[in-house]
Symmetry: none
Subunit: 415 residues, 2 copies
């Protein structure tokens, strides 16, 4: 089973956009046991795409194309592939209905060219796009399968997960299946994790262990290649137990689509605890991260953004003398912020963030210094000092992740 | 002058590494007036690379290869290219001296395989590597030029800047340069923008117009290909004037690295205005977006996250009767939130967000309904109702963008 990925878009050839779709698709296809032999990028040029398809036909069983499904005249992927295999384009009724619905509820006018997005290749399977308007197609001709997906990653990824993966699993079943499990860790770097697990990683054959570093966390993918599902799960259970023996304290949850905020909100719900926040350098990023989770209103009612000295006094009623004496980037300020926020919002738990996001130091403290306070009903309030690095955005994100972990550990009592 | 980029490395095909080298090289080559027609990724497999070189020879004047110059057995790029053009590999003395110097100052033992890194293709020009050990080669054979560079971006980039760029400028002097300008638009979709500019786009030759849709905004890149910089800027000025005649009302700023929040914060600074917010469904995302901008403390002191009915009353002092009578997703609530936030934070301008992020409807209002309030000192407070779509995250981001645009328009109006 040989596959290749063709990304269509002049913006990629001009270096304006990075081809992250090829990376994403490669990882997904590998996971399905489909080997990728080539990535190619070609501009919005039907002749060159047609030439490329001629080559790809001969060397690949599956050709995944991304980009060029949009409404404008330079979106030519569908037309070119259809012409190449001597098929026509037809309207997909489900995509058309979605388009009309979209523009009914939209502030933008629906221009005629949008209809192009609802065309698919006749004889193929329409792939619906949950987060966009361009419909995809999966079609097999002369033993080659063509899969057409849109270019924007925020459309391509959900389409792949929800609609393409099940299709490919059905079309291209593997004698041995890949059974995998993702473990997520917070508070340990990739190089340290790999060092701690060196013996396990060096001796891996089946199941395999693949570490993957993401911003502020590391995941481990355990994968068994085996015919029998039950036996595969047992292999993964055994390996997971060994991993947990070594680095279990940093483990927070399972799954590709999981996140620390998700696990933290679930823990709060499960224990019936509410949370609030007072944010200085993070400026609402912690609360906004909570807001990403649907149903968070059960545990989060609101909170404060106190970016300046004045708002720390005005909104939270913090003693100006304390701020003057201790400074705003201090243990005392973090504790006062958390305590006052908890009382004012009448919540079970409050977290506070005060520190130096940069680019300049503040109150003589270096960029990346962050105090995080944690106030719990019936518990002494504590604050921890962290030193983060890289840029402004990363420092603020790192602070939010640490705040989530403090709350999660407090709630599940894994202090 | 046609170029293509071939990246060699199985890790790219497995989705473990993103091909940022192709993006970097494309941008650099475009800047030198060299047009890139293809990117290809191939694994560490000499036969497939050899096949690819056979195709590339026919279609490109310049073939840039990156990756596969290292010390290990799977680093085969140099051997494959040399064999392809019937040349041999020779030791580069300068790279060899550097290798010995490196290991003299290193704690690691120099293993024999490191010598492979100092080999270049006989008859070519050696490209020294200021931050690594693998030497590159530039060689022309049968009117095709091959440029071999290492894979690690932290080696490839300095090599390109210091040693490759001057060579290419000398070898391929361009009569014409590419001069480009990016215009940014908010409040108009890509399909509508393209429809409005149809005549200009259909008749483009030089300069060209390339639209690009991003979440909640559209950019237009105007590009002139011309020998004289001044004449090029004049061409772009003329085209920009025509674009502005049609869609100027949606234009908010210039440049690839710009953003609506950046322009809005700059406008606030310029006019000496401060801003605050009361956020319900956005849950701090507006304020956090402001917090991304360094130096925002001059115009932003803090604000409120009032996710529940209770916190709207407690934090902002909104009349419970109003909330009961009008509902929280209402014009009256948005206006009260903005007015109260402005007063409590003593700011010049306040924005408020209240609406339905989903997945379920709220107070009988459909998912995506958002009221955004705008309170300005000395002006009547207003609120607009927007209907956004897609998912929770997109609805909240869309609301934040609209809030920024309302503030920007309010501030620049009073010039």
């Amino acid at each position: 089973m040989k596959a290749e990925i063709i990304a269509v878009g002049t913006e990629l050839l001009l270096g304006q956009v990075v081809n992250t779709n090829a990376t994403f698709l490669s990882e997904e296809l590998a996971d399905l046991g489909i080997e990728v032999y080539y990535h190619t990028v070609v501009g919005d040029n039907p002749k060159r795409l047609e030439n490329l398809l001629g080559e790809a036909d001969h060397r690949s069983d599956l050709i995944v194309l991304c980009g060029g499904l949009g409404p404008t005249d330079d979106d030519l992927t569908k037309d070119t592939v259809a012409a190449h295999i001597h098929h026509t384009l037809v309207q997909d009724e489900q995509a058309l209905a979605r388009l009309h619905e979209f523009f009914t509820f939209s502030n933008n006018a629906m221009t005629e060219n949008n209809l192009r997005q609802t065309l698919m290749i006749d004889g193929g399977i329409a792939i619906q796009n949950p987060t966009g308007l361009a419909v995809g197609t999966l079609i097999t001709k002369n033993e080659t399968t063509y899969l057409l997906l849109p270019g924007p990653p925020n459309e391509l990824k959900p389409m792949f997960h929800h609609n393409v993966r099940p299709l490919l699993e059905e079309r291209f079943p593997q004698a041995e299946q890949l059974i995998s499990r993702v473990l997520r860790f917070y508070g340990i770097g990739e190089s340290q994790l790999v060092t701690e697990l060196k013996d396990l990683i060096d001796n891996q054959t089946n199941p395999t262990i693949a570490p993957y570093a993401k911003p502020n966390e590391v995941t481990l993918r355990l994968t068994a290649k085996i015919a029998d599902e039950m036996a595969g799960q047992q292999l993964l259970d055994d390996l997971e137990a060994k991993v947990m023996d070594t680095v279990g304290d940093y483990f927070y949850g399972y799954g590709d689509d999981n996140s620390l905020v998700n696990v933290t909100v679930e823990a709060l719900k499960e224990h019936g605890k509410t949370v609030t926040a007072a944010e200085s350098l993070t400026a609402g990023l912690f609360q906004s991260t909570l807001g990403d989770i649907s149903g968070v209103s059960k545990v989060f009612k609101g909170g404060f953004v106190t970016y300046s000295v004045e708002t720390k006094e005005q909104f939270l009623g913090i003693d100006p003398l304390l701020l003057k004496k201790e400074g705003t980037v201090s243990e005392a300020c973090a504790i006062a912020m958390a305590e006052q926020a908890r009382k004012l919002a009448d919540a079970d738990i409050a977290v506070s963030f005060t520190g130096v996001a940069g680019p300049n130091e503040l109150e003589g403290q270096p960029v990346g210094t962050v105090w995080i306070g944690l106030a719990e009903k019936g518990q002494p309030t504590v604050a921890v000092c962290q030193q983060f690095n890289r840029d402004r955005r990363y420092i603020r994100q790192s602070a939010v992740m640490k705040g989530l972990d403090l709350i999660r550990r407090a709630v599940v009592k894994k202090k």
